[in-house]
């Protein structure tokens, strides 16, 4: 174990941890973004709410989510420690420091961007994750006509509660057979939440921070792992810039804007 402690306490070891956890968080972001695209469906939130049930009940996804929480904490703690350690390597600051001539703004401000994202994560998770798990989210029932596929949306009474995350059954009526599904209406929480302009503004600022953080962070992680070669540097840069710094933050930012405009 001695070799492992030595590796983890070295300056390079700490960076391996940042790169590994960072890249894992990047893969999560892709899944999170694709899943959340269901918010744009005009189905009173049926697809999104069923997806929320899947994400919080599937044992495999739950296991990965605990790993994700651990990695977020590790990435944040290690990042903050590195910022302070690195600051202590230059006890006397320069009077004039022209960083923009030799490096990108994002690369010099990863700590600041990361701190912004940590603050955002606390707000974001207390708004939706905490509310969904421990708060009071109203229920909604979706009745699907098995023959026609037509869906009826029935909001549950405000004090309605059920033990299981999802209640399903099939009933026969004069119009035919219906599949009845009752789930927590997280979609409503999202829709109501983004009526507040300050929250929309916070999300847009946070997505700008994601963009700058990953503009540098994604390709930097590969360099830390020693993966720097003209064979694949192009594709790493392309994914980092167009995927993680542009497409993903834009898609996420579009969600609060969509609900704010369509309220």
């Amino acid at each position: 174990m001695n070799w492992f402690l030595k590796l983890m306490s070295s300056s390079l070891g700490k960076k391996y941890v940042m790169a590994l956890t960072g890249l894992f968080l990047c893969t999560f972001l892709v899944v999170h973004m694709i899943g959340n695209l269901q918010l744009f469906k005009s189905d009173n939130g049926m697809a999104f709410n069923l997806y929320a049930v899947l994400m919080t009940t599937n044992p495999l996804i739950k296991t990965v989510s605990y790993l994700l929480y651990a990695f977020i904490v590790l990435h944040a703690i290690q990042g903050i420690r590195l910022v302070f350690q690195n600051k202590s390597s230059r006890p006397v600051q320069y009077a004039v420091y022209d960083g923009k001539s030799n490096s990108s703004w994002a690369s010099r401000n990863m700590g600041l961007l990361g701190t912004l994202l940590l603050v955002f994560l606390v707000v974001h998770m207390s708004d939706f994750w905490w509310e969904y798990k421990f708060g009071h989210v109203p229920y909604a029932t979706y009745a699907t006509n098995i023959e026609t596929g037509e869906v009826k949306f029935i909001p549950a009474p405000a004090d309605y509660k059920q033990f299981n995350k999802i209640e399903e059954n099939v009933i026969s009526t004069a119009d035919g057979q219906y599949r009845i599904v009752t789930v927590k209406n997280l979609y409503l929480e999202v829709k109501e939440g983004f009526k507040a302009i300050w929250l929309v503004a916070l999300y847009i600022i946070a997505m700008a921070a994601v963009s700058f953080h990953l503009f540098h962070g994604f390709k930097s992680a590969f360099q830390t792992f020693g993966l720097n070669h003209s064979k694949y540097n192009g594709i790493i840069n392309f994914i980092g810039v167009w995927g993680f710094a542009i497409a993903i933050p834009l898609a996420f930012a579009a969600m609060p804007i969509y609900f704010f405009i369509n309220q």
Binding site: W3, K6, L7, S10, S11, L12, G13, K14, K15, Y16, L82, Q85, N86, S88, S89, R90, P91, V92, Q93, Y94, A95, V96, Y97, D98, G99, S101, N102, S103, S104, S107, R108, M110, H216, K219, S220, Q223, T224, F225, G226, L227, N228, H229
Partner: protein, 253 residues
């Protein structure tokens, strides 16, 4: 290019010794030739100061042809000034304009304590080299020069890494005062050659351990080091060291 004369204002860091707090002094320089190197301008300034009975500015210099790595001035926020791939002795006053104010500071890093004015102690670099930046050679007759085949690509890459003059500009430029570019160049120049293989794993482990114990920061991959390096040492050396260190840590003897 014809010679012109410049009037400049110099803000120079003055510090009597490592314990002194230090501060900036402002000097007016009149009629500075654009053909002078930056160090020659300092020679003129020092003659002025000596004539006035003042203490001349201490600054490091040796070869004045860009290969010794001694001249270590942080000029207007950048190591070795505004030009790329040059040392301070190769920086000429034609890179400045008449009326400019130029701020000159020493390298700033915990492992590079200021000795006096613009001179810093870079012996932390020497200790990193002593920790493993060499190959052990048995005594005896020199081998035939071409006895060990080395591919042209490896020889070129090794040579490019070996161009590092240990000036410390990478540390000075880095926002974390990290020595990764220096150490990785010294690791790479040997890791790329057959002669460097027997001690390859131990070398990277020892040199990184020494780098950390000297108090250099860690790498954020900003690329400032390589951009400011007078010998344009590539960031791919840092990637190689990251690979080697990981490999040596988990699979080393």
């Amino acid at each position: 290019m014809s010679e012109k004369l410049l009037n400049l204002t110099l803000k120079v860091w003055r510090q009597r010794n490592s314990k002194d707090k230090g501060g900036f002094e402002t000097y007016a320089m009149k009629g500075v030739s654009t053909d002078m190197s930056f160090l020659e301008m300092f020679d003129v300034l020092n003659e002025q100061l000596i004539n006035e009975g003042k203490d001349p500015v201490a600054f490091d210099h040796d070869c004045r042809e860009g290969i010794c790595g001694m001249c270590s001035m942080f000029i207007n926020g950048r190591p070795h000034g505004p030009k790329q791939a040059v040392t301070t002795c190769q920086l000429h006053m034609r890179s400045f304009n008449d009326g400019d104010t130029i701020t000159v500071e020493p390298w700033r890093a915990k492992p590079f304590p200021v000795i006096k004015d613009l001179v810093v102690d870079r012996s932390s670099f020497d200790r990193i080299i002593s920790a493993g930046g060499f190959i052990s050679v048995n005594t005896g007759n020199a081998q035939d020069a071409n006895a060990i085949p080395i591919s042209k690509e490896d020889a070129d890459e090794s040579f490019a890494a070996a161009a590092c003059i240990g000036c410390g500009a990478c540390v000075a430029a880095c926002k974390n005062a990290s020595a990764m570019l220096f150490v990785s160049a010294k690791v790479s120049q040997l890791a790329l050659l057959p002669q460097g293989q027997p001690e390859r794993e131990q070398r990277v482990l020892n040199m990184v351990a020494q780098m950390d114990s000297e108090g250099f920061g860690s790498c954020t991959n900003t690329g400032a080091c390589s951009a400011e390096c007078p010998k344009e040492i590539s960031l791919s050396n840092i990637a190689r060291m990251n690979r080697d260190y990981f490999g040596a840590s988990i699979a080393g003897k």
